[in-house]
């Protein structure tokens, strides 16, 4: 039977690379040699079929349809022989955006939030930014500018904080319980694009400091890791010959909390499931 204790709530807006990570993770699990391996075969590979095909061809995968939400159950086994079933979702990231914008959480999502003891938040730092303000880019004389009303645009980190606050609320757990019992992993995707020298936590601190403070205040042991699911950027139309010849399972890496790289893409999952398996 599926044990709800082993499902992971994967959170990521559109374009952060959920499908790429899912497909590459699947490849790694099937190949073995990592902290986690596949124990049998996944129930349903359909959500990742197209992505796997594109990667095998050395191309990047297409966009997941907005309304899609498919859970795929992956039987996994760790190095000690302990078995678990990992429930891995694939969905269009617009669902997250629409939740934040409409400030309403669909009941399906509420159920997922309540079932998953571990959340994995995918953030692509290139997609987020803290806009310049009068502190980062001072203006010689502010008093000469006109006063005007302008539309309120939520900053990216405020949106992500609001998302986590919303999910905490519908998850119906007390702040104290959450701090000590639930787990949160932050995965900074497309790490290769960042060209950042330092640990993932430092990158998050530099780019989204308020979100980092929020996470550290609300979870006792949040982990921040980096991910380059593909290892390099792929085009949708042109094939990458190395990919085709060596196979996509030989590309991609994780940046561990201490900044070291590891080719084992199952590490963040192992870390999140560590205590609940």
């Amino acid at each position: 039977m599926n044990s709800p204790a082993n499902s992971i709530l994967l959170l990521g807006e559109s374009g952060v690379g959920k499908t790429h990570f899912g497909a590459q993770l699947l490849k790694r699990l099937m190949k073995g040699g990592g902290r986690l391996g596949m124990d049998g075969q996944a129930t349903n590979l359909e959500p990742f079929e197209a992505a796997l095909e594109s990667l095998n061809e050395g191309k990047s995968a297409g966009h997941t349809a907005t309304s899609t939400y498919i859970d795929s159950v992956w039987p996994v086994v760790n190095a000690l022989g302990r078995r678990a079933e990992l429930i891995w979702p694939d969905y269009g990231g617009e669902q997250i955006k629409s939740m934040i914008d409409s400030r309403r959480v669909p009941n399906d999502w509420r159920t997922r939030v309540r079932r998953a003891p571990a959340w994995l938040l995918l953030i692509r730092l290139q997609q987020t930014r803290v806009r310049d303000d009068l502190f980062s880019k001072p203006l010689a004389d502010l008093r000469s500018t006109s006063l005007d009303n302008r539309d309120v645009q939520m900053s990216d980190q405020a949106r992500l904080i609001e998302l986590l606050q919303m999910l905490n609320y519908v998850g119906d757990v007390t702040a104290e319980h959450q701090r000590s019992h639930s787990r949160l992993g932050v995965l900074l995707t497309c790490w290769d694009e960042l060209a950042f020298d330092g640990t993932p936590a430092e990158a998050l601190e530099e780019r989204l400091p308020l979100l980092r403070a929020f996470i550290r205040s609300n979870w006792s042991t949040p982990s921040v890791m980096g991910l380059s699911a593909l290892g390099r950027s792929l085009s949708k139309s042109e094939r990458d010959i190395d990919y085709v010849s060596q196979g996509p399972e030989n590309f991609g890496y994780i940046v561990m909390p201490d900044g070291l790289h590891s080719p084992d893409l199952t590490l963040p999952i192992q870390l999140l499931l560590g205590d609940v398996q």
């Binding site: 669909p106 303000d133 009068l134 502190f135 980062s136 880019k137 400091p209 308020l210 403070a213």
Partner: protein, 320 residues
Amino acid sequence: MQHCTRPTCFVPDTGCDLGHVSLSKCAAWSGQTTPSSAHAEPVDEVLLPWSGSALGLADLGFVAGRARPIVIGVAGSQNAGKTTLLGAWYLLLGRGAVDLGSRRFAGSFSLTGWEAVAGSLRWSPGRPPSFPPHTTSRSGRAPGLLHLSTWDIGLGRSSDHLFTDAPGEWFQKWAVNRDSAEGVGARWIAEHADALLLLADRQALSGESIGQARGALQLLARRVAAERQGRPVALVWTKSDIDLEPQVEGSIRDTMFNLMPDAAEFSVSVAPSSAEGNQVGVGLVKLLNWTLSIRRPDIVLPASLTTGVDPLFLYGVRSS
């Protein structure tokens, strides 16, 4: 769409103010549901009890459920920089430029409200930052409250703060007449704030109508002194980059500290503190740390003579 009969509940715009995630479990909602309107409940999605905008009095129940938040009243005349001060704090928090000591940002139920006050201080495409537009004396009789939750690493507990964002006219009316109908909002702040920041506008005090600005500020200081009942007050010089005649500055100080000798004093400005590098303004972080350190006076229980450590027999007459 059906509405809740409770005056503080705004279903379906926000979630149940009693905290029921599922409306069918709320007695107030179920009690009014008639069979014909039973389908009106949005069953396929969960509403949230906060809208993200600045909180009004009716929204306070949700934030105050855990513990009474510390209310920081930001008082000052029109254009003194009350909203700019709040916006600047939020921007500095968002940049990670504030060292809060053992505290850390832990969330806010008025993020949209904070973004709104900070929005005009940001650069947007083709538009330089400007000061926030005038805070209007809305029809509401209570100020907009901006919520900030912090987590204290040392103490291992969170605390909630509410900052008032109110129009200056309220304070001007209230300074003249405590019971003024237009100053009801200011009176609310004076009654409920755990600490008051009294903003002195250096621009107004150095401009053409010095006399008027000084008179208004002194009047407001007297009102605050009469109403504060021992609560902490800080005199905050805003726009501190502007020079002031020593006499004017001295007269404000005299009034303030004669009335409230224990008042704190700060100088703040959003103007660049140095020519280069990342800016944090002047005095803003220090003032924020002061406001966050405000505590309500503790209650000290009288020491009791006890005969032993067992709580059941704690009170008794010493036998020897």
